[in-house]
Symmetry: C2
Subunit: 122 residues, 2 copies
């Protein structure tokens, strides 16, 4: 089941120099943007709906959403004069996998160390 395609934002963002993971982690490093992601994880929303819980001007909110869009975390489209947003989980999952890979290596190494200390490795 395909929920979206094409991702025009990924191309424009790639031209800007920073890598995909740079932008994803960078986007998540701001608490306002994490709250936006949290909100969107529960369903689509317009920009004004997103702005509501924040003490932020519309241009400010709009810029945050653009950062999420450039990171490929959020897809935005137009309905009348409103802009709707929804989450794109794939990029988030790539970031997730990167972290898991690192911690897996580390834990594997610790397991090896423990085996060694227990003499099971010799």
């Amino acid at each position: 089941m395909v929920y979206y395609r094409s991702m025009a934002t990924a191309e424009t963002a790639a031209a800007a120099g920073a890598s995909e993971l740079d932008r994803v982690f960078g986007a998540l490093s701001d608490p306002t943007r994490r709250r936006i992601v949290s909100r969107l994880s529960h369903g689509e929303a317009t920009l004004t709906e997103l702005a509501e819980p924040f003490d932020l001007t519309m241009p400010g909110l709009s810029k945050h959403v653009s950062v999420l869009e450039d990171a490929g975390i959020v897809h935005k489209w137009r309905v009348g004069r409103s802009r709707y947003c929804r989450l794109i989980p794939e990029r988030l999952q790539e970031a997730d996998e990167w972290i898991q890979t690192q911690t897996a290596f580390w834990n594997q190494r610790l397991d090896g160390l423990q085996n060694y200390l227990e003499g099971e490795d010799q």
Copy 2:
């Protein structure tokens, strides 16, 4: 069907300064620091060992490691005139869990939508 409610979750805890997740995600948003984490996921290293693959001055490398340290991702200690670093996986796993929570909510919602479309929900 209600897709979300309120979301005053962990944000109240992050009242002052940069929160833990801010620093963890911010630390991972730089490619040099991700390479350092990758290196450390395979085992401890001194700062000079860490610096070796990079085209970076020592002060530059040292500052990157400090960022990882402030984020709680890396522990640093002294042996003679060397500084050793090792990974602290716990903070990384917290970041991991945050992402998983968001994508889980989203996928859950999509499952609900699919059930609805297949008529299993009525």
